[in-house]
Each structure stands twice: as C-alpha cells, then as structure tokens.
Subunit: 369 residues, 2 copies
C-alpha cells in the first residue's frame, strides 16, 4: 500500500491511495456491499458511477455464503465481480449490534448466529484470517465497539481490550501483503482517544480509522471527538472515519482532514425513497410528486435524473418495484460520489472554504422534503 | 402499422412489423412490463438485451399510477423511459382473474379495485380510451376471457359477448393512428374459434391474437387449439399468441406461424431462481450450486454468465438480494430473446426443422435441475 498527499487546503487533504487492486483518489466515499453486493447495484454500474473502492462486511459474508465459498473464487473480488479495491470491516461492529446474544471474553466474542442459531466465536485472529481469505485490499483490526453511553471506566476497559486485540491482529496479519488499519477507540473521552491512538501508533498500522462514532451519541458529541482526534492521526497515513455519515457530516470531516468514508445512508435511504440533492433532501413517495413530470434534480447528470420523472419514481416506489430501488440508489450514490469529487477538486484548487460555504447554503434551502 | 413477411419456412414466417415507435423483427418475444417496468430491468438494459417491444398492462397502470399521470407524460413511452414500441393488453385478462370480485354485464365489467376497494367498471370504450392515453403502438380489444373448463353453451355465449365488445372497440378506436388487434376466443371448441375469427375478420383489425389459451387447460388441449387456429389467421396480418409460454411452447407456435409472444415466465421465474438454458432449466437456489465457481451457462454471452459464478447467484438468491433478481432476469430474458433471434435466422435460412430438432434434443438433456 502507498499513500500520497497531493494537495492540502487547511487541514483537508487531497490524496491517492494505491492498493493491490488499483488506486483510489481521496477523500473517497466507499459504498457498502454488505453481502457481497452494494444493494441493488451491479458492479458495472458502480464503475460507471465512479466508485473506486467498496466495503465488504466480514461478519455477514462469514455467515453467508461462508469463507470457503468466497475462498474458492480466490477472494471477494472475483466472487462479487468487482475488480477494484475492497476494504473489509472486521465483523466487530455487527457482533456488538447483536446485544444480549453475544458474550465478550478476552479471547474474543461468543455469540449465536442470527442466521441459524449456531454457537460461534469470533476472535481477532479469526477475523484477520477471514479477511485474508477474502483478499481484502484493506483489512481492519477486530475491536470492541464501546457502547454509548458508557462511563469513563467502562470506556477505558473497552479501549484497552481493543488495543490488546489490535496487537493480536497485527501479529495475525503477518505475511499478508495487503494493508492493515488500526481503529482508534476511546468513546467520548478525549484522553482515552489519545491513549488509543498512541498505543496503535506504537504497534504500527498502514492506516488509522476512527471507530465508535455515529453509534447513537448526539451530533455535537460526534463532531467534538472527530474534530479533536482527526488532526492528530498520523500525517502520512490514510485516515478513515467509519460509518459516517450524512453529506453534512462528510463535508465537515473532510475539513478536519479525513480521507475515507463509508455509510449505508445513500443506499438504505434510496430504498425507502429518501433522495439527496444539492438543494436538500426529497422523499419521493410524498403525494406531491405523484403527477410531477419533471426530473428529480434538473442539474443532476445521473441516469435516473436524465431519463425519468418524479412521477415515475414516485410510482415505482409505491408499487415496490425493484427498478424504484435501483434508480434511487443510482441517484444517491451519484450524489455522494460527485460530492466527494467536488471536495477533491476544491481542496486541489485551494477553494474548500468557499465550496463548503456554498454547499451549506444550498443544502439549507431545502426547497421541499 | 405495416407488416411484411420476409421469408417462410413451412408455416413459419419471418417478418417485420413497423409501428409508430419503431420496427420489430418477428417472430418476437415481448417482455412483460406490468406496472410500467419490466420487473427488475432498466430500459437501457432491455435495449442492450435486444428487446424491440414490451407489453404494458392496462388494468394495473389504470389503477396505479392512473391515466392522468401517464397522460401527463404524453404516454407510456416517456413515462417509463422506453422509446420503442409498446403493446398494451386491454385489462380483460386481469379483471377476469379477480374471480367473484367482478360482475360481467353487457356494458362491461364491474369490479372492486384490488388496490383500494373502489367500485369501478371497465368497458370496451374505456379500455380503448386508456390505451389511447398511453399512446400504445398496438392496442388490444377488450374481451371476456372464457373460463376453463367451460361448456359449449357457456363458451359460445362468452365468445359472442367478446365479438360485440370487439365491434365496440373498433368504433371507439376510430381516429387513433395506432394499430388495433382483435382477439380470437372460442375456448376449446374449434367451430367456435372459427366463428370468432370469421366475425373478427368482418370487423377488420390490423392484427389477430389468439386469446383464452394457457388458462389452466392441459398442454395438449392448448396445442390442439393453437395448431388448429394459427394457420387460419389472416396471412398478411401479424399473429399474436397471448401469454404463452415456455421455450418449448414458443418453438412449437413459431412452427405454426405465430409472429408475436408475451409471457411473464422468464421474468417471474428469474426472481424465484428458475433459470433457462440450452440444456434444460436450473434452479439456482439448489444446494448443489453453493460452491460452484463455474458460470450458469458457459456458452451464454449474457452479462450474468460472463461475470458471475453459480455460487454467487446462489448466494444472492438465498440472501434475497435485489442483484440476484436482476442477474437472473438478465439471463432469462437473454435466453428468450436469443431463442427468438435464432428462430428468425432458421426461418430465413430455411432450416427451421433442423433447428427445432436440435432445440428439443438439447433441452431434453436436462443435465441438472
């Protein structure tokens, strides 16, 4: 893995990440491909939209279709027909979403499979082994997601456990030429965030992620921690803010120097008819769109906006047609990927502040919802 | 509308149908777009698959999104983003599927809307008015679907009612430059089929369809009636066998001189993991495909077979991923459209018998299911 910062604008960085399966221009948004497919999209569409890297979910793919099936294809790329880079999460986030069904031990996390109830255990070593079998370009360490809210003591204990697991992941990753990223935890406590980051740097990783945000905390708490820790992440390594977020969150975080993002919002919201535009968000199922022959966004160049009316999108969503989910997903991913492309241009041109100001003013117009 | 027979081979015909929105090479298969979308497909994919005409359902589109919404777009073509020809059915077939919810009168059919329970009535005149508002290239007459089984008396009465409605449709269609097709009814009675055809010819239509088949009767009954009536349809007009059928049904009917087909089988079966290949059908959800890294059909040139494994298709179907429905639909439509293209070539080359023999031998191999 190589990472090069090409331009800066304030704390923001315009970079290029070179991975085993290709290079990625940063800041970058990674569409989420939970079960080996970015929901409703085919790989050729994702390429057409300009996606350069997607995220795969270790936990879900481990349970279905299983390691051996993906490994029989030589990895996740050929299995899902996506030749470009893939980042896989560690499975930790999903396991900690199981609630009382899981039990955290020093060794790892025991849980009952939500697919068939089997008793399973995921450990740092197993997570790394699975991600290696998937041939992920970027492997994430297995860590505990600190709950929110959590006391300082609980957070400190959880952070230390994650650090011991991070060291085991580093050992287990030995011999794998792909990249390994550490994840900074520490909850809502700035000193614990610093403690986590320092210890991870001592272990040494190819990139550093911020975990444990966007887990239910108020937005200003999230922004406070992100603004605190982002600029402290190593200067010459990619910085990844996990699971975030809205267009506004991303613009803010790019300003704080974040290079990589993933989030289910554009794809999940698309399937529910929630569409992003430069001038605010639109709920296309709303009756006001029922007879509207105009496009969703006249200024948008995506396939959906160039070919179909709001009335047609409204109709497809109400009739629960697959094409409705597809056209909405195309539009939302186009919105996110174009937003990131514009942010990259603005950083390179040294005009990020102006871009951000215009972005906020446009989005605040919210002509309709 | 123009129709030209370019070549013949036995009773089979290779033709070209010129409609308001483009020309169609026959024999042709028309994918079914119930709610203004061929399920799971985007218009650009349909064009890429070589589809030249699609079918729209008057009944469904009348209820959702309603005539006024489609009409506001100037018709169904712009509403659904499909610039090529469209044939619309009359709504009769769907109404007669409502069972006890509908009441047949001389004037038309009264029924309760399955969407919201509203009391509605569809008449020959209204059906033609709706299809005109949709700007369908081919408009179908509104007729009664004779139930199966039915006595000779019941069938005769139903056939006569359909003929009176056909005459009303012809009158209502006056002034519409698009084509109007009559529908031969008469159930399983050859003399009633002849009576229906003769009366329709006296009224005079641009094309003639065979209705009331594939409604629950045994396959040999269907083939008997089809083989009887198909060659009796007017020589210089397109002949359309409605709602049929399997690949075997279509090959048989092409041999009997049929020019046009529609059926939900390739699209509906795709969503359930039932896939058509030259060497028999495959149920991709079957566990035997779980770890198979080979393509669905190594000889198939479709996007699905060129890029994905059986294991991946199996996984997507089991995980109920939208992409699973999409890739299966692409393959099945490619199969049907390629089959029709090969039949057209064989007719033009005068080798239809040889082609049909090879087709049956290949399909009978059914290597697996």
């Amino acid at each position: 893995m190589q990472f090069e910062v090409i331009a800066r604008c304030g704390q923001a960085r315009r970079g290029r990440l070179t991975l085993a399966h290709g290079s990625v221009e940063t800041p970058v948004f990674m569409p989420v491909g939970t079960y080996g497919t970015v929901k409703a999209m085919a790989p050729n569409e994702l390429e057409g939209l300009g996606a350069e890297i997607v995220l795969g979910n270790t936990f879900h793919l481990w349970l279905r279709p299983g390691i051996e099936v993906v490994a029989a294809h030589g990895g996740l790329h050929r299995f899902m027909g996506w030749p470009r880079p893939i980042l896989t999460d560690s499975g930790g986030f999903q396991i900690f979403s199981l609630g009382p069904l899981r039990k955290v031990q020093e060794e790892g996390v025991a849980f009952a499979s939500p697919v068939d109830g089997d008793r399973l255990m995921l450990t740092p070593e197993l997570s790394i082994e699975i991600q290696r079998a998937f041939d992920a370009d970027v492997v994430m360490v297995f860590d505990e997601r600190t709950p929110y809210p959590a006391s300082r003591d609980e957070t400190a204990q959880s952070t230390e456990l994650s650090l011991r697991w991070a060291a085991r992941c580093k050992n287990a990753h030995a011999g794998n030429a792909n990249a390994l990223f550490g994840i900074v935890q520490g909850g809502m406590f700035e000193d614990l965030r610093e403690r986590s980051l320092g210890a991870l740097e001592n272990i040494g990783f190819d990139g550093y992620a911020i975990g444990g945000l966007s887990v239910g905390e108020p937005k200003d708490e999230m922004r406070r921690i992100e603004a605190f820790i982002a600029p402290r992440l190593p200067e010459h390594r990619p910085r990844y803010l996990m699971g975030v977020g809205t267009p506004e969150d991303i613009v803010e975080a790019v300003g704080n120097g974040i290079d990589m993002f993933d989030c289910v919002l554009p794809t999940r919201n698309a399937r529910n008819g929630w569409l992003y535009t430069r001038y605010g968000d639109i709920k296309i199922r709303n009756a006001r769109h029922r007879t509207d022959t105009g496009p969703l966004d006249a200024a948008c160049a995506c396939y959906t906006c160039r070919h179909f009316s709001r009335a047609y999108l409204n109709h497809l969503q109400r009739a629960n047609e697959i094409l409705g989910a597809r056209l909405a997903t195309i539009h939302n991913l186009h919105y996110y990927l174009t937003l990131l492309a514009e942010l990259r241009e603005a950083i390179a041109a040294g005009t990020l502040d102006r871009y951000t100001g215009q972005f906020k003013a446009d989005r605040a117009r919210v002509i309709e919802f």
